[in-house]
């Protein structure tokens, strides 16, 4: 019985301000060919110099993935002719990468899955092409030379679901490390899976297929799933297969042949003579390691252990570092972790979505949200009223207590005032009173409801209940 064998190669643009080997700006969306210079155009006589921050970001990522850092790392020229590379070679790494031999632990459908990371290395991005319907192509090099990190796994995935989980975890990790925006739509993160099938008993394999043109994690998942099915189908029907690169067609949900490996590339890798080797000093590596933030998977586990949150809450809250930081600031100010989690994931998230703000731009600070949660805890307002107070805090910038005072929203806890309302409610609901006395405890709800309607929900429900019971049982 054949099983799927899948490996994934990810390219992530780093978040440096300048390019990998020159000082042109590394930014998205500039006017065509405005961020280029003799180095990134590959003009004769120009010389590249390595961006230290890019090296640091790859080492940082490698360490977070449990990789070893190389002691002698070199850049190589990967030679090929294509218009997106002005100098006809890409500066990349070959057999002496910056980091190698890591691992990522996943939980997929309740099962632990361990994925080996072969390497995380550094290279430069290529330019962009636009193909026009009139038979011409346009080329621009703003992206050419932007630092690109390549992360390659061993072929350890056995399903599309495992690949999806890996990419979700990797993206979250890159966000935490602050090394990439990891935005797949903008091409800042690109994933290329390699898929084939293997018979574990005989060792027989189908030819490897690489899949390209994947613009979202969902597309990667669907393409891998499709490709696995396609290869099983070929095995069954005896349809010939070959080593090839296939393109994902999102609209039709299929892969189609892009090129076969008959035209096998010979990249003629050789050491880049214009760049000296990198020998990362152990002290530097240790300083980078020491400065690593708490990583998302560890933080998620801590949220469960320390705050007693459900696994789901912990996962949502640690999806990005800013949300996790915000949540912890709220908890620190008011305790009540589960209530804080509900507010951050629920009402606050809704306001953020509606206004298109990120959590760092929230108009309600963690301390303000904590104060609001405190007013529920101390009985000043009910949860329902608090849900109405939060949007007013957002709109006005006022604190919870200011909004409550200005709008006169505090719960009525004054017993004499509530007693009056309770008497009215009992008088107005003779049937409910009779039902209750006849043993139907639920009939009480109608009387409570009457009082709450009269006070627009502002009566302290606990006090109301107590007084009604005292009246009816007294």
């Amino acid at each position: 019985m054949y099983e799927p064998i899948v490996g994934v190669e990810v390219h992530a643009q780093l978040t440096t301000s300048s390019k990998m080997f020159c000082s042109c700006r590394a930014e998205f969306g500039a006017e065509p060919n405005t961020n280029v210079c003799p180095v990134c155009l590959g003009l004769p006589g120009s010389l590249p110099v390595t961006n230290r921050k890019a090296v640091e970001q790859v080492i940082r990522t490698g360490l977070a993935l449990g990789c070893e850092v190389g002691t002698l790392c070199r850049f190589y020229r990967k030679n090929y002719f294509y218009p997106d590379l002005a100098k006809n070679y890409q500066i990349s790494q070959y057999d002496e990468p910056l980091t190698f031999g890591g691992r990522m632990e996943l939980s997929v459908e309740g099962r632990p899955v361990s994925i080996r990371i072969r390497r995380a290395h550094l290279e430069e991005d290529t330019g962009k092409n636009i193909h026009l319907p009139n038979g011409r192509s346009l080329v621009e090099y703003n992206r050419c030379g932007v630092p690109l990190m390549e992360i390659v796994t061993e072929p350890d995935f056995r399903s599309a679901a495992e690949v999806r989980e890996y990419l979700l975890q990797l993206r979250r990790l890159l966000w935490y490390l602050g090394v990439s925006t990891a935005n797949m739509e903008e091409g800042a993160l690109r994933a290329e899976p390699t898929v084939n099938l293997r018979d574990p008993e005989t060792g027989e394999r189908t030819p490897k297929v690489e899949i390209k043109n994947l613009a979202s994690i969902r597309a990667v998942h669907d393409a891998v799933e499709y490709e696995i099915r396609r290869q099983y189908h070929c095995l069954e029907t005896g349809e010939p297969m070959q080593q090839e690169t296939r393109r994902w067609n999102e609209a039709q949900g299929i892969t189609t042949v892009m090129r076969t490996k008959e035209s096998a590339e010979d990249y003629m890798y050789f050491p880049e003579p214009d760049l000296v080797p990198i020998e990362p000093e152990p002290e530097w590596v240790e300083a980078i390691r020491a400065a690593l933030p708490e990583l998302p998977q560890a933080r998620q586990q801590r949220f469960v252990a320390e705050y007693g949150l459900p696994e789901y809450d912990a996962q949502v809250l640690t999806e990005d570092r800013a949300t996790a930081d915000y949540f912890e600031a709220v908890v620190q100010a008011c305790g009540e972790p589960k209530a804080c989690s509900n507010w951050v994931m629920g009402d606050l998230q809704r306001l953020l979505n509606e206004s298109g703000c990120s959590i760092t731009e929230s108009r309600v600070s963690p301390q303000q949200l904590a104060e609001l949660i405190g007013t529920i805890k101390d009985g000043t307002i009910s949860h329902n009223i608090a849900q109405a107070v939060l949007p007013k805090m957002w709109a006005t910038g006022h604190s919870a207590r200011e909004v409550i005072a200005a709008e006169n929203l505090a719960l009525i806890s004054d017993a004499t005032e509530i007693e009056k309302l309770v008497d009215e409610a009992i008088a107005a609901n003779p049937k409910a009173v009779a039902d209750y006395r006849g043993g139907k405890e639920k009939a009480l709800g109608a009387i409570v409801g009457h009082v709450m309607r009269q006070t627009k929900g502002q009566a302290n429900a606990a006090v109301v209940n107590e007084l009604i019971l005292a009246r009816l049982n007294g």
Partner: protein
């Protein structure tokens, strides 16, 4: 080390996108064989235990700080282009890889 064959020359020409005639390839084959002779001589050296090197100068860790500088004005970038439009280089259609 075996001699450079005509097939080797053809392979190198393909990789370098050079279109040479058969007589040119023969000439290049002769030249490459004379160059290879120098490598044969180097092969005689005992390099056991000597680490591979990519640089004649013993130097490493040369960096620049991540500070953006000035790029070329777009007119200069495209001044030698046979064809351009709105800052783009314009070429005949090529196949996406």
């Amino acid at each position: 080390m075996p001699d450079v064959t005509l097939d080797d020359v053809r392979h190198v020409c393909r990789l370098a996108r050079l279109d040479l005639s058969t007589s040119e390839m023969e000439r290049v084959r002769g030249e490459l064989n004379r160059i290879m002779a120098h490598f044969h001589e180097l092969q005689a050296l005992d390099t056991e235990g000597v680490p591979t090197t990519s640089h004649a100068i013993p130097m490493s860790n040369v960096y620049r700080e991540d500070i953006p500088g000035v790029s070329l004005p777009v007119e200069k970038v495209i001044q030698n282009a046979p064809d351009s439009v709105e800052g783009f280089f314009r070429t005949s259609l090529f196949v996406e890889e």
